[in-house]
Amino acid sequence: MNALAALVQKDLILYFSNRRAILITLAAPILIAAFFGAVLGGPPKKPARVPVAVVDLDASSVSKSMVAAMKADTAFALEESSEPEATARVREGKVRAAVAIPKGFGDEATRALFRADAKRPQVTIYYDPSQAVTLALVKGLLTEHAMKAVSQAAFSGETGMKVIADSRAALKTSPAIDEGERKDLLSLFDSLERVQSRGAAPGASRGLGSQGFSMPFETRDSEVTSGGDRKYNAYAHSFAGMGVQFILFMGIELGVGLLLMRRVGLWKRLRAAPVSRTLLLGSRIVSGTLIALLLVAGIYAAAIAVFGVRIEGSVIGFIGVAIAFALLASTFGLLIAALGRTPEATRGIAILATLLLVMLGGAWVPTFVFPEWLQSATLVVPTRWAIDGLDAMTWRGLGIDAAVFPIGAMLACSAVFAWISMRRFDWEE
């Protein structure tokens, strides 16, 4: 066995002889990734229903059919309540928003459908500012069901007939409309009345009159992931993030270990041997890389076996990203040893820097929730390459070409780290 192999073997034996430490290095990322994964979506599943409260102050046939339709909508978990209760529920965070349908909504809305000058009823939406995105969701839902209920009322039954009669009277006396337009509108009302009376007749076929307007399209919701039967698995991202974080911590420990080593007699013994400095530091890079790789393997073994994570993309790409990241973590540790002075101070600063790096790299929350400027700013953060690369090869299911950039960038970065370390490392404290 040559000197390099002996040094690497020594590092591996020493690292893995500390079984408790290994268990912690492996258990911590797995537990935390499991937590984040469960919180941020868990295994593949249907989108959750958004809890919304509705207050029907009108209680007209229009508002009632609107509430019934909203209840039937699978996008929401609807609860009916009084206005004070509903606002309290929003404040407590029990529902995301509350919709208050005002008194007189049915009549006013039906009239406003045909007359621009008519008073429009005001529907109040109370919403939780921390969940502002649901406001748009609730508005959309309201629009769909209100249009349907109001138009249904307008084209059928008593309300409709009364509204048409009122509108016709108003149109006849309105001075602001020119003769041609007045004639066209009056003939539109005539046709509407014919539709209404046909709908009212017994045994009539169910036409437009009984159904009202409906959405002129339907949507089919299809998740875009790796395709096939596989669905997005939030664990895939959280394991990438936590794996990266804790393996960088391991890199720090190796770096700090080197600084501690400098204080003891063993260091003299190693340096008295006829081996070059490059070989001594190089052996640390090799052993750090191997340890990091074994940790990646252990963490992903748990992710695959227990949490249903799959390498949907290129397996070779995944291995490539893992190796490049392992090298990055190892050289990062060495860099810390080269730039640090005392082990104590170095460990603190290094952990802080690492937390910052992994946060910006998207280990905690995916980078797509960052504001746009931060998304492009973090493109130069090495941890982002690692996490994006692992994401691409797991749940995104991309091919090896998507791994080329992260691998190349991490290897280049590792080379720079190694070069700086070799030049800057102080052989004595």
């Binding site: 002996a6 040094l7 034996i13 013994r269 006829p274 081996v275």
Partner: protein
């Protein structure tokens, strides 16, 4: 074999070593004797290329020792003052690692490792980790680690600190057997008795300077005869003798039975090494 000439090293304003020269021949033990902070360890570090001297040279059989990975380093075995072992590697694992660093491989490595363990009396503990060893066993393994590559020059920096007399005697026996195999040995200590018992020549250093050097006998002659206040007498010291001494103005402060306290200690506890079972 080893030749150090006018070595100097300062740390800031503190001159740790200020002109030390010494020569060691094969089959010779040279003791470097000095109090704490005299510059013994710094001198050893310069002799094996760990510390670059501000001035002076070190050669081994004519080849200069430098900081690089040069071949001359293979001829030096260093036993650092601190116990320098991987506590979680077995004794044999430590020896194999340090052998491999000196490019010793295969069956030669195997033989040398076992010979070194045998020499320091740890063959029965080869597979155990130093973490489980007593202080004396660690000290002996600390020495063995410098022997695997069979160096010509052995630098021992206070190798007996904190060991019991049994281990100390075993270590002395080891070093003497290495001398008989022709090694050139430098031995630092601040115990006079050690230097006296073991060394062929002694260099006394203080404040980084050599204050005296030579054989034990030549060093003893430095003291003027009138300063000698110690006498060894054969036979019982009775009242008559004490009265005679008192008449000549001499006071007996201490009377010792024949042999040292160590002789008594060893007489009572035996010479058996006290290794953990």
């Amino acid at each position: 074999m080893l030749q150090a000439t006018d070595l100097r090293k300062s740390y800031g304003a503190n001159a740790a070593v200020a002109g030390v020269s010494l020569t060691v021949n094969p089959g010779e033990i040279v003791g470097v004797l000095g109090p704490n902070g005299a510059g013994k360890s710094t001198t050893i570090s310069m002799m094996c290329g760990l510390v670059r001297p501000d001035a002076g040279t070190v050669t081994i059989a004519g080849d200069a020792v430098g900081e690089d990975a040069s071949a001359v380093k293979r001829r030096i075995g260093l036993v650092p003052q601190e116990i320098s072992l991987y506590e979680d590697l077995s004794a044999i694992g430590n020896l194999e690692l340090f052998g491999a660093l000196y490019a010793i491989t295969g069956s030669v490595l195997h033989e040398r490792v076992h010979a070194a363990l045998e020499l320091v009396g740890l063959a029965d503990h080869a597979r155990l980790k130093p973490a489980t060893f007593s202080g004396g066993m660690k000290r002996r393994l600390n020495i063995a680690c410098a022997l695997v590559h069979d160096p010509d020059v052995l630098l021992l920096d206070e190798p007996t600190v904190g060991v019991d007399p049994q281990s100390r005697n075993a270590i002395f026996a080891n070093i003497e057997s290495l001398r008989s195999r022709g090694k050139a040995i430098v031995y630092t200590t601040h115990y006079m008795e050690e230097a006296e018992r073991l060394c062929d020549r002694i260099v006394i250093v203080d404040h980084g300077r050599v204050v005296a050097s030579g054989t034990k006998e030549s060093l003893r002659r430095i003291l003027p005869a009138t300063q000698v206040r110690r006498a060894e007498v054969e036979g019982p010291i009775d009242d008559e003798v004490l009265a005679f001494l008192a008449a000549h103005g001499l006071v007996v402060r201490e009377a010792e039975a024949r042999g040292s306290l160590e002789d008594v200690f060893l007489h009572l506890t035996g010479k058996q090494l006290r290794d953990a079972p």
